[in-house]
Symmetry: C2
Subunit: 206 residues, 2 copies
Amino acid sequence: MSGNPTDLRVVRTKQAIRAALIALIEEKGFEAISVKDITERANINRGTFYSHYEDKFDLMDKCQEQLLKEMETKIVPNIPKLIEETKKHEAGPMPIAVLMPFFEFLHANQSFMKALLGPKGDAAFQVKMKECLNRGMFGPENAIFNADGLLVPPRYLASYIASAHIGVIQEWLNGGAIEPPEEIARIISAMTIHGPLFAAGIRKKR
Amino acid sequence: MSGNPTDLRVVRTKQAIRAALIALIEEKGFEAISVKDITERANINRGTFYSHYEDKFDLMDKCQEQLLKEMETKIVPNIPKLIEETKKHEAGPMPIAVLMPFFEFLHANQSFMKALLGPKGDAAFQVKMKECLNRGMFGPENAIFNADGLLVPPRYLASYIASAHIGVIQEWLNGGAIEPPEEIARIISAMTIHGPLFAAGIRKKR
DNA sequence: AACTAAAACGACAGTTTGTTTATTATCTTA
DNA sequence: TAAGATAATAAACAAACTGTCGTTTTAGTT
């Protein structure tokens, strides 16, 4: 079994597999990919693949887990801060600065994020990412949304916000992530704070 | 080739295949399904499957197309009416009545919708459904969102709203669609009109 | 430079696939 | 209701992919 994670050969092989996976998901979607496809694209022997992963699902899981872990540990802790700031100056602009690490992370992992969130990607990953975002908003450090005065059940509020944000991110990545992360942070904030219809110019009153 | 769509045998077979597909997607996800799985579950001969569909992807496509067509032709024409109503009484409650056919359609097609939009479903279907919703909001009959005064680029507005709505629908279906369609229509409307943060009780001012 | 571990190679049986044949069952319609 | 048409079944096929092994070669580590 190939285990040593510092051995350059292992590092190289895993990188090649990962890159091949990303490219192939974008090309024909995860379900249409065979292990043979991956190893041919990565220029490695098929047997080598099986010494690192059980099958293509195992590979997918491990890649996603790594990504989500990074997302969670680096990004999510900021969300409570964000909501706190928002509460302070209620009518003011959103404190975008606190969102930036998240969007910069997405930008840095563009290709994989695009593949996973794209039309040929994985619906399960979207669910995991929503859970990740929701832990930030509804987690134990954060009693805000658990308070009274909600017009809607909390789980629908969470679904709405998380899905909306992921939707914008999908659109951003799908268009090649041309706009800088700050711009996307501003766009998302505007809609979540003021409501999408106000952002659309339909509801003028505030 | 088996073609006659009125022959009872054909109708029965296609129904069985479709039901098997839905059940299996929920159980192990589309990518893990084999044609053999489908025909065993449907209690039909494997050869029979191939006389109706090219492969499992063809089956999936045809089932989705049927669903989306129904969604589009029956539901989407109502959206312009909806926005018009919303503009009239700006601060009033959303005219939920006009949304009802859409949510009743979802409720009637619960099992398939749940399978397609669930964690083991198809990311491409979500994209198609978003496009369906967006055609309603940004279509030619409807110049509202093309007007000036947008705080954000229109495609991000569209992505935000469509994804948010689908997210709530996913949550609804995933929980067994316990709430009646009217309730979900009300919940979604509240968040889209007033903004999710207002609905959360965080932003009190209007 | 020697040691060690990873990668390549080639072979294996077991599945699934898509196609085709002949046979049986069942629907339509006259 | 009987005759003819056609859909479904059953069984067999090569081709492709899978997951696993044992052996040999290559390359990184010390």
